[in-house]
């Protein structure tokens, strides 16, 4: 620590701190227009000049490194005069039409003009820039207000990594532009709006913000984004029951001020006219029961649905659902009922849902889409470490020395985590990408190991081989913290880099380089933050569906866990093994026990002691002790008539599950299907009863993000019509089912006043959540395990010891994909996501701006393959697999290698999962192999 004086106040800071940061941290406010805490100092606005004793001229504090004994003044007559003159120059080139400006009240230039009493310029008013550009539905660019602070350009480059804009021309004529001033949509822009977020003036404004009122008329409502698993904190600015725009805030632990395009602009689905507003009963069933339509005022979806459905009162619907479920139990036993919980609903919803299935119905047939994404991460990491979740926090990533990313298109699927990765790389970290596809992250990669699909396991094993051969293993860590090393070491002996090169197509020397970089945490440049505390740099592994959605997913995860243990790259900041979870609350839904084999807190249903303890909390003597059916198994059981009734909360298996034709057949075979939804999804269309739910923008409760951080949601909008929070619906059904099926006649068991009360019950049932209550969760949230109310949470897992005690090495071998290509089906189909859409598109495809950017499906095909097949860019194509066929348009691209095609699974009109296979599941995790199946692709005959 060094000590200096600012404005007479003694201040201690770490070496390297700038005078600006030192001042701000100590409550001394220095005027600034181009400074941002997340960006490198620029020094362009000249407002932050300070006086330093012994220096003849004022110095910009944003670039001034503190030195011991420095005496700094941030206020003086001279500085005031210089600042006035500087603001005077700014406003000579910026219209002072604050009275009609949308930014008034939030404009930094306006604030300083006020502070320094500048009412007009003393110079000749002369505008350098007059362009007005509104070429996209996300934001406008009004150049006359631009003060060229370049924060937009810098954030786009330094944080987002898109570098879509630069300052072009020079001097007075400088302006911010895309290359060659092409429209935003044709540039690298990812429409994350971070430029809009940091713009100090009205030069960049969200389109939704225009003429919607002044800043002080808007309410601030903070909640957690409901799209992916990053769990971004967002501050929605609302007026009445409408969102005006979304703004990031620096205290948000996962994302700081930055979000992706979906978080910033994808909220308008909530007030889409298609929202379900009233309970609906299928017409044939209604007729059979003699139900008549309630006199509701209906939205367009309901009016359209009237062909098939009859709107009814909540009481009618709830009674009907309870009666039907109870009837199924009575007729065929509790295991004839299955439930799908939702990774998009809050913890409280999911907790009650699994409680309903287990306590009220009496079955473990409960699962959710975690099965389809990270089941193999959970099983693999459970076997290796005793716990299956991301080990390190998101904020650690920026300080890493080496990042090893595989099977994750982070830029599109977890954009905000990719920002952290970009920041690490920009400050000198090395980045290794192992991926068959040329994902955007490869642009930032130090090393890109392009594997042929399905051969990446060779690379992981060869990396382990090289680390052992070269003596880069952490022998102390292996000796002190792990077991099973010898078997593992013997198992990787055959996997030389040359063997792996032959199998995967990755040059052997690249594998050796990657092994060295990862094992030793070698940076591309610059010094490690951890140089003082550890000999090797800190490396972290990151993966997603590319690893897990495989028939050998568990083994692949074990292999990655082996690498971390081999090199001791775990249990420390910026290291670890990090499965990036897909949905906003997939971690939480799993934590809540919305899984067939575990109760809340991953307590095995087969563990008599644990199970009975939970049963006791729920006022029951015991709970079902046999693990239930998984997602894909439920489908099979339904088609075989073993499962007769299903309760689906916020899931859309009719798009998300493999082999859709089979899924539809199964759902149609059910005696009763109830779907709780916000839109008339593909699955809801098959339901007997549809229950309208509140969306995440209308709910409270908690969600647990990918880094195990439990965060609180707050309602931003009122739910439309009669839509209700999921927990309320589940509890109402619970009351009725208990009444119908018996069990403890404790109505209190299902009477909840709100989510806080449910959370308290979760804390009492789940050890990892024991210390987590709503009242404790501020802006920061808490990372589980949090075993007591005074426990600070556990951002980094496995620090001193692994959850299971010693980490366990597993000897694993490579395995070929379940479905090989052949002459008839010569292409490998890989499925995944695109930046602008989310999962089955129920929300994102109803967002106007997201839809504008990515209106329909397409398949990515290598230009060479396309040429051979006579397929032109944007031409209609038909893709066939042994399961089915879809029609979409071709997008010629170098992102996929020859022989591989890529189709996202968002598109209802071109559902990728009509093609995927469900016959080969990972034997342990029961996850289907979405990532690899064999298809043929032909030019469509255009009618």
């Amino acid at each position: 620590m060094i000590t200096l004086t600012i404005d007479g106040q003694p201040i201690s800071v770490t070496p390297g701190t700038t005078a600006m940061d030192a001042a701000l941290a100590n409550g001394i406010d220095i005027p600034r227009l181009c400074h941002h805490p997340d960006l490198k100092p620029s020094g362009g606005c000249r407002l932050c000049l300070v006086e330093v004793d012994g220096r003849p001229n004022p110095i910009p504090s944003c670039g001034l490194a503190c030195e011991p004994g420095m005496v700094i003044r941030s206020q003086s007559d001279q500085l005031t005069a210089l600042r006035r003159d500087t603001i005077d120059l700014f406003v000579s080139d910026h219209p002072l039409d604050c009275v009609t400006c949308d930014k008034a009240g939030a404009c930094a230039l306006q604030k300083y003009a006020y502070d320094y009493g500048i009412t007009e310029t003393s110079h000749d008013f002369k505008l350098g820039r007059t362009l007005y550009q509104n070429d996209n539905p996300f934001f406008i660019r009004d150049h006359q207000y631009c003060i060229l602070c370049a924060k937009c350009v810098r954030v786009c480059d330094e944080v987002i990594g898109a570098h879509a804009i630069e300052i072009v021309d020079r001097g007075f004529g400088s302006h911010v532009a895309t290359p060659f001033d092409v429209p935003m949509a044709d540039s690298n822009c990812v429409f994350c709006g971070s430029c809009v977020q940091v713009c100090p003036t009205a030069a960049l404004l969200p389109v939704s913000r225009l003429k919607q009122g002044r800043e002080w008329e808007l309410e601030h409502k903070k909640t957690i984004c409901g799209y992916c698993g990053v769990g971004c904190g967002i501050d929605y600015r609302t007026k009445g029951n409408h969102i005006v725009y979304a703004q990031g805030y620096p205290e948000a632990p996962a994302n700081g001020e930055f979000m992706c395009v979906k978080g910033r602009s994808g909220w308008d689905f909530a007030q889409h006219p298609d929202r379900l507003t009233h309970p609906l009963v299928r017409k044939d069933l209604a007729r059979e029961l003699g139900l008549s339509a309630e006199a509701w005022t209906l939205g367009p979806t309901q009016r359209a649905a009237l062909a098939d459905f009859v709107p009814v009162a909540w009481e009618t619907a709830l009674n009907l659902v309870a009666a039907k479920l109870a009837a199924a139990v009575k007729a065929a036993g509790p295991d004839a009922v299955a439930g799908l919980a939702s990774a998009r609903c809050v913890n409280e919803d999911n907790y009650l849902f699994q409680k309903l299935m287990r306590a009220a119905i009496g079955t473990n047939n409960i699962d959710h889409c975690a099965r389809l994404c990270h089941a193999s991460s959970v099983s693999g990491l459970g076997m290796a470490f005793g716990g299956g979740a991301m080990t390190n926090p998101i904020r650690d990533i920026r300080d890493a020395d080496c990042l090893f990313v595989t099977g994750s298109n982070t830029t599109e699927s977890h954009p905000v985590i990719s920002y952290e990765m970009v920041r690490a790389v920009k400050s000198g970290a090395s980045l290794i990408v192992v991926d068959p596809r040329q994902i955007p992250l490869t642009e930032h990669a130090t090393l890109w190991l392009q594997t042929r699909p399905g051969t990446d396991h060779f690379v992981f094993l060869a990396i382990a081989h090289v680390i052992l051969r070269e003596g880069w293993a952490d022998r102390d860590f292996i000796a002190g913290r792990t077991e099973g090393f010898d078997d593992f070491a013997a198992s990787v002996a055959p996997y030389t880099p040359e063997v792996a090169a032959l199998a995967s197509g990755v040059p052997a020397d690249k594998i050796v380089l990657a092994a060295r970089m990862y094992a030793l945490g070698e940076r591309a440049r610059g010094a490690s933050k951890y140089a003082a505390e550890s000999e090797r740099g800190h490396s972290g592994i990151f993966w997603a569906m590319g690893i897990t959605q495989r028939s050998n997913g568990t083994e692949m995860v074990l292999s990655l866990a082996n690498l971390a243990m081999l090199t001791g790259q775990i249990g420390k900041p910026s290291t670890g093994v990090n499965p990036l979870r897909g949905q906003s609350n997939v971690q939480g839904a799993s934590d809540m026990g919305a899984l067939p084999d575990v109760l809340p807190g991953y307590q095995k249903v087969t563990d008599d002691g644990r199970r009975k303890a939970v049963a006791e909390k729920w006022g029951l003597p015991d709970l079902p002790a046999t693990p239930g059916l998984t997602v894909v198994e439920v489908t099979k059981a339904a088609s075989e008539g073993k499962v007769r009734a299903m309760y689906v909360m916020g899931e859309n298996p009719m798009l998300s599950d493999p082999n859709l034709e089979h899924v539809e057949e199964a759902l149609r075979a059910l005696d009763f299907l109830v779907v709780q939804e916000i839109f008339l999804s593909e699955t809801a269309q098959l339901a007997h009863v549809i229950l309208p739910a509140a969306s995440w923008l209308e709910k409270d409760g908690t969600k647990t993000n990918t880094e195990r951080r439990v965060q609180r949601l707050h309602p931003v909008l009122k739910a439309p019509g009669e839509a209700k929070p999921d927990w309320w619906i589940v509890a109402e059904l619970g009351k009725r089912l208990v009444a119908l099926l018996g069990g403890p006649a404790v109505n209190a068991l299902w009477s909840y006043t709100g989510t806080a009360q449910i959370a308290a019950e979760i804390a009492s049932v789940s050890p990892a959540y024991r210390g987590i209550t709503h009242s404790r969760l501020g802006d920061e949230g808490l990372c589980w395990p949090c075993p007591a109310e005074d426990h600070p949470g556990t951002p980094i897992l496995h620090r001193e010891t692994f959850t299971r005690g010693l980490g366990k090495f597993h000897a694993v071998a490579t395995r070929a994909p379940a479905e090989a290509t052949d002459a008839e089906y010569p292409f490998v189909l890989s499925t995944g996501r695109v930046l602008y859409h989310y999962h089955t598109g129920t929300m994102s495809r109803r967002s106007e701006a997201l839809h504008w950017r990515e209106p329909g499906g397409w398949i990515e095909i290598n230009a060479a393959d396309a040429a051979a097949a006579g397929i032109a860019d944007d031409a209609d194509v038909v893709i066939r697999s042994r399961r089915g066929e879809v029609r979409t348009v071709a997008r010629l691209s170098e992102r996929v290698q020859p022989g591989v095609v890529f189709l996202a699974f968002h598109w209802a009109e071109a559902p990728a999962n009509l093609l995927t296979q469900d016959f080969a599941l990972d034997p342990i995790a029961k996850i289907p192999e979405f990532k690899l199946c064999a298809v043929q692709i032909v030019a469509a005959v255009v009618p």
Partner: protein
């Protein structure tokens, strides 16, 4: 190549040159090319071919001979008698010169105004100069490394490699050499900083992005003696521990780039550059980076950004390039002329160099002498020479019988010095005290027909054009200053505008980010200081009338 092979190569070249009856040297620098030295070359070649004695004579190109206003120039050297210098040569005159010289005759008497007349070499323009950096300019063929080696080339490198890097830095520091790019930072000290900076990877950069209007010292040096700059750079790399060097040269200097490329290629082929230079452990490579026409890229941090492939914008210092330069590594950036001075210091010693110049400004400085003078061209003078000597002795006085009004030094960053300060010695401190700067060496002389507000406006227009736009005082401030100057020149300004002008100049000077903005107001401030009456006389007539009324 081993060090001992160097003298052998030198002797071989000297013997080759001595074997010729005479050597005809024509200037091939950009200035003489522009005035027709291509035709001179053709004329000389043809005449030599047609002449039976032609085979025994040698024809060679050289770099700048100095008196550019009198070009194209040709000099003929004989082993046994003084050389003859011809001015205003053209193709026809070339034939006549060959005939005369090969016949061993004194140049024939010709009419005083004709092309290709003899220029005496004992005129003050030549005798008042001290050629250290330009010693080989106009003497050797810049495209032949052998010629350079025959003129003591690469002996300084041999000598330096025999010293420790610390000793080399010490030598430069003791010489008192200061940066020739304009700021005058002690070169040896800068070298020491880079040497002692932590890091395995270091860079050396030669700044050849000369941009001041009217200045062409660096261009000429690179064209006339590229190896001397390269050799100085190699010595610097050895001294600071760098492995990679860059020449940053502006795109408008194609001939300099061509000659540097050739010099790098030749030096590499001879083992003077690349791996294990002169058989030592020291390895160093040099690349050329071409600027894209932005004046601000002469500023060292902008220059580095440009080399890195980014937009050429200056950034805040510290960190200085010596701590964190190219790609975050310690980087030595010196001006081309500074590097050109190194070989002489290493060869002749720090004490010798220290003996030239004034107390704080040592050695010689090259100036591009332009404007309303009888003799304009490239000159090298000892520090401390007075402006009067430069203007009246070397420059031959103001042309067309007009009187001297001001000398502008330092380009758009400098100021105008009026007649009453003509006896000021030219050194860093004295020029600064007058409100100007040494700068990189542009020296423009104005006569009594020049309007000083117009001169200030000219330079401000240059700055407005060349401001990168990153910081507001330079971006907006210079544009506003230019606006006021336009009003002055148009006779529309009032006294309040002059007051605003002065205040604005101080704001821009004090708050701009880089040297460009900080010095942009200098031409205005200095003309206001010495020629305020000219501004006041130009205030609008209507305005003066109003002023009278209110008085």
């Amino acid at each position: 190549m081993k060090p001992e092979e160097l003298p052998i190569l030198a002797d071989k070249e000297k013997a080759l040159q001595a074997s010729k009856t005479c050597r005809l040297l024509y200037c091939s620098s950009t200035a003489c090319v522009a005035s027709g030295s291509g035709a001179v070359k053709d004329g000389l070649t043809r005449a030599l071919k047609d002449n039976p004695a032609g085979k025994a004579a040698a024809l060679a190109q050289t770099g700048c001979m100095g008196l550019c206003s009198h070009g194209p120039m040709v000099r003929v050297e004989h082993a046994d008698r003084p050389s003859t210098l011809y001015e205003y040569v053209n193709g026809e005159a070339a034939a006549r010169i060959v005939a005369d010289e090969l016949a061993g005759q004194a140049p024939a008497a010709i009419a005083p105004e004709s092309a290709g007349r003899v220029l005496p070499q004992d005129i003050p323009f030549f005798t008042r100069q001290t050629k250290v950096v330009l010693a080989r300019a106009g003497v050797i063929d810049p495209e032949r490394i052998e010629d350079y080696i025959a003129h003591d080339g690469y002996t300084a490198l041999t000598r330096a490699l025999g010293m420790t890097p610390e000793q080399v830095c010490d030598e430069i520091q003791r010489s008192g050499l200061r940066g020739r790019g304009g700021a005058g930072y002690p070169t040896g000290l800068k070298w020491q900083h880079v040497r002692s900076a932590a890091g395995d990877k270091k860079y050396v950069v030669a700044n050849g992005d000369e941009g001041d209007p009217g200045a062409y010292m660096d261009r000429t040096l690179m064209e006339a003696d590229p190896h001397s700059v390269l050799e100085g750079m190699i010595i610097a790399a050895y001294a600071v521990g760098a492995q990679q060097g860059f020449f940053y040269v502006r795109a408008e200097y194609p001939l300099a780039v061509k000659r540097l490329e050739r010099a790098i290629r030749m030096a590499t082929r001879q083992g003077l550059l690349g791996k294990n230079i002169l058989g030592s452990e020291f390895s160093f490579e040099v690349d050329i980076r071409i600027g894209a026409g932005a004046f601000v890229c002469g500023e060292e941090t902008a220059l580095m950004a440009s080399i890195e492939g980014q937009r050429g914008l200056p950034r805040m210092r510290p960190p200085y390039p010596a701590q964190s330069g190219l790609w975050g590594c310690p980087t030595l950036i010196n001006n081309v002329e500074t590097f050109g001075t190194i070989t002489a210091i290493v060869n002749k010693g720090a004490d010798w160099f220290h003996g030239i110049g004034t107390e704080k400004s040592k050695g010689t400085k090259i100036f591009a002498l332009t404007g309303k003078l009888n003799n304009t061209g490239l000159i090298e003078v000892p520090m401390g020479i007075t402006l009067r000597e430069i203007v009246y002795d070397i420059g031959g006085g103001v042309a067309a019988g007009r009187s001297f009004k001001a000398a502008q030094t330092g380009g758009p960053s400098g100021g105008c010095i009026p007649a009453e300060h003509l006896d000021t010695p030219v050194d860093y401190e004295s020029l600064k005290a007058l409100g100007s700067i040494m700068g990189s060496g542009g020296l423009v002389v104005m006569d009594d027909t020049s309007s000083m507000p117009a001169v200030a406006k000219f330079f401000m227009e240059f700055c407005v054009d060349e401001s990168c736009g990153k910081c507001v005082p330079c971006r907006v401030g210079t544009a506003q200053i230019q606006g006021i100057l336009q009003k002055v020149v148009d006779g529309k300004a009032v006294q309040a505008d002059i007051d605003r002008l002065e205040r604005l100049c101080v704001t821009v000077q004090r708050t701009s980010l880089c040297g460009l903005g900080q010095s942009a107001p200098n031409p205005v401030i200095s003309t206001l200081r010495y020629f305020r009456d000219e501004y006041e006389q130009m205030l609008g007539a209507a305005a003066s009338a109003r002023a009278e009324v209110s008085a």
